[in-house]
Symmetry: C2
Subunit: 317 residues, 2 copies
């Protein structure tokens, strides 16, 4: 079974929507990622927990065969985030962030996790991401995420991480912010010029776009994925991390990393995200079955299928 | 060659974007529709012109083999619209609308246009759309558009038109407004329950969604089309009408009206819209060549192509 290393937050969330509110539920980028990726590969989580972190929440990861030996306990409070969504559920308004023990954590990778072939650097301080890249040994594939805060205050460090990653996986607004342009196509070109072989631009309910550099033909350089259509979204928190988990998990299991494999991986990411947003916290992504994943993969293929026949009748003039 | 009837505005537009401004250029829903659809079929335009309308603009339609005998000249000013787009180019802000001779026009269909098999009712007063439906004789396919104003003030009449149409083709915000829900899926269900066999929800740069009722399987009831990715959009005016023109034009030429034909038609609509927004006024859609249309159709197919292989390596757990 392939191995994936994820470094990022394991946290407690307090989430409000117009319909409901959940307090102190398991969250954090690494939790969502791991619970999505564990369906495809053996996931090793590296994160820091406060002394208030509940054993049952660690158990939720462990019982999925996720390696939790890289979870470090420290005296102090766990990372806590509280946010609120409006009716359109498109973007969270952060009400409060308490970094707790995460604030001055500098991860030191355990020896047994330094040679893992697939690495996901979840959204953390880009300087820490760079330190982690110095600690891993020739990984086969590195994917990274970031956020508006780092793009604003540590842009150069983020660019360094991008240049050392194989896949950059960020939101549409972040891509625009990074490249200081409204045009996603121009932003993608600028990011790919830094070095990564692929860029995924996450667009929430509008799906995602995959840009690849190297390919047999121009036609395959861009892939446009829909979101999985859901009538009801309960909580968008963690959608991007579950997306990355499905994507990197699929790639690790598939073996190929060419543009067509990346397309399939993006669809697996889309499927993972769809399960994540159907419930509060990690419950949706944790309980998705193999059959349900495959069903949604096929549903997305149907959703976008277009026949080759351009015109059966009179040819266009 | 199949015949299509379009009834709607032929107008002069004054369009401002952050980059440029064009005054008194040919516009109007029927102009954009006709110039897109004439690539596939013989288009008959029914509209009213003021005595200030320039012959050269009528000639722009006529030289594309569009039947302009249904253009009625009246004393008074032509329909004029002025609007402004912000940097994101997503929605026009209407600065001024002067209906001119369009204000109290009640179209009386010439005898030779009453038996045309494909009909597009562009965005006009829904009561006029209903009168037109009383005048046509058993058309094979009727498509209709509308706008927020009619949805607000003449909702029942719009619902009547929808119930008598085969295809409803409206914007995302209008679908939401009509069904008074944020959920597009719920809005689509409500609109399809009125009677049309299909609904296209236009989503601007996010593409479009096709909902069909009757089909072999559930999987084909929804089709998600991307927009054609453009690095530069000069003027979004008329995109929706060019979309409808490519869509209805393709259907008329193809002969089939099943869900898979509707998917191909939506892609042709998407291609038409992409040409329309690349220039101010109708120049882009008027000058698109057959080769360029086919190239973009194939590019969209590539853009969304997903391989069947779900997992080559370890099966998901």
């Amino acid at each position: 079974m392939p191995d994936i290393l994820v470094v990022g937050s394991v946290a407690y969330d307090d989430v409000q929507t117009p319909f409901d509110r959940k307090r102190e539920v398991l969250g954090g980028a690494a939790s969502y990622f791991a619970l999505a990726a564990c369906r495809y590969a053996r996931v090793h989580v590296v994160a820091v927990l406060g002394d208030d972190f509940r054993d049952e929440d660690v158990e939720q990861l462990r019982c999925k065969d996720i390696d939790v030996s890289g979870l470090e306990r420290r005296a102090g409070p766990s990372f806590r985030w509280s946010g609120r969504y409006d009716y359109d559920m498109s973007a969270a308004e952060t009400l409060h962030t308490d970094l707790g023990v995460f604030a001055d954590w500098r991860p030191e990778l355990p020896e047994d996790k330094r040679a893992v072939p697939f690495v996901f650097l979840a959204n953390i301080d880009p300087e820490i991401q760079l330190e982690l890249l110095d600690q891993v040994r020739r990984p086969r594939f590195v994917a990274m995420d970031s956020m508006n805060y780092w793009l604003e205050f540590k842009r150069d460090a983020v660019a360094d991480v991008m240049s050392r990653a194989d896949l950059v996986c960020i939101n549409e607004s972040e891509a625009r912010q990074f490249a200081r342009t409204f045009s996603i196509i121009r932003a993608a070109r600028e990011i790919l010029e830094l070095g990564p072989r692929a860029l995924v631009v996450k667009r929430g309910e509008n799906g995602s776009m995959l840009f690849t550099k190297e390919d047999r033909s121009d036609a395959h350089r861009l892939f446009w994925s829909p979101a999985y259509p859901l009538e009801k979204v309960q909580d968008p928190t963690g959608a991007g991390d579950a997306f990355a988990g499905g994507l990197v998990g699929y790639l690790a299991a598939d073996g190929d990393i060419d543009p067509m494999a990346l397309r399939r991986a993006v669809v697996h990411g889309t499927v993972s995200a769809s399960f994540a947003v159907e419930t509060f916290s990690v419950d949706g992504i944790a309980s998705a079955t193999r059959g349900a994943v495959e069903e949604r993969y096929e549903a997305i293929r149907s959703l976008v299928a277009i026949e080759a026949r351009a015109l059966a009748g009179t040819p266009p003039r």
